[in-house]
Amino acid sequence: MQRLVVGAGYGLKDWLAQRITGIVMAVFTLIMFAAALGGAMSSREAWQAFMANGFIRFLSFLFIVSLCWHAWVGIRDIWMDYLNSAALRLFLHVMTLLALVGYAGWAIQIIWRL
């Protein structure tokens, strides 16, 4: 029997998280622009010194996590909008989540080894 079921009882946290992570990314982007204007990208040494700063490490980590979290909600929304098969949706949700967690670790490793 195929009865339609709705009422998962979640959604607010994802919606809110998407907005908050968006703000984090916007702030980080502005800081990066300011840093570029201030000469942090003028040479490899300057860039390394900039990225070694504890506060920038903290922010860049937040940025990567925000980016992946934001992408998770957005990509999941696309699967929910356009795919009708629950099995396919579940598969793609899991794949998206695994890929994003992997990307987050990889991105942080790249940025922190600078």
Partner: protein
Amino acid sequence: MTNANRTVQFKIYRYDPDQDAKPYMQDISVELESTDRKLLDAMVKLKAQDDSISFRRSCREGVCGSDAMNINGKNGLACLTAMDSFPEGKPIVLRPLPGLPVIRDLIVDMTQFFKQYNSIKPYLINNDPPPERERLQSPEDREELNGLYECILCACCSTACPSFWWNPDKFVGPAGLLAAYRFIADTRDQATNERLDNLEDPYRLFRCHTIMNCVDVCPKGLNPTKAIGKIKEMMVRRAV
């Protein structure tokens, strides 16, 4: 284009499931008099000319919401659309509201739309015994209902919403959510928590991605997106 008699071209979506294998667009022209000011007037003339053309209509003044249709690509009410708002020399293209099953010509099956409307319990829930005269509100509390209660359920907004096109069985849609907020905002209603619980769902409420097609087409000038935003705001206030 306002005074003398004139001929106006139409392109109308035609489909009679008993006769047609598939829908087609019919070119038809009609002679209008200066008193035929609204699109609905022209359509009544069209109907007199070819009585097989089917569409819903009733009050002819934007109150009943029957004659909602897709006019030159945008949803609206035929009775509120002025004939002189159309560019001269181009045919007026009329199609049924998008996303709902077509019963015949411009008549759509609104069952899904009303199912969603019913799902938000569009009536006051108050378990206190009714007072002798009426349940009173302060003018400020009553003010909050302006822009919400005026909805005529014509379905222009919900059928302009891509989220409603893809998930009409799960997403409440702008019209239903506007009505939901009308009761959430009502200080006389006692089921606020249940109403918010009912909507806190990735499909029922959060399929709205705030593209504001609903605001763009509402013939009554209402703002479902704003109401949806207020529902989300109340959920945040309840949660933090």
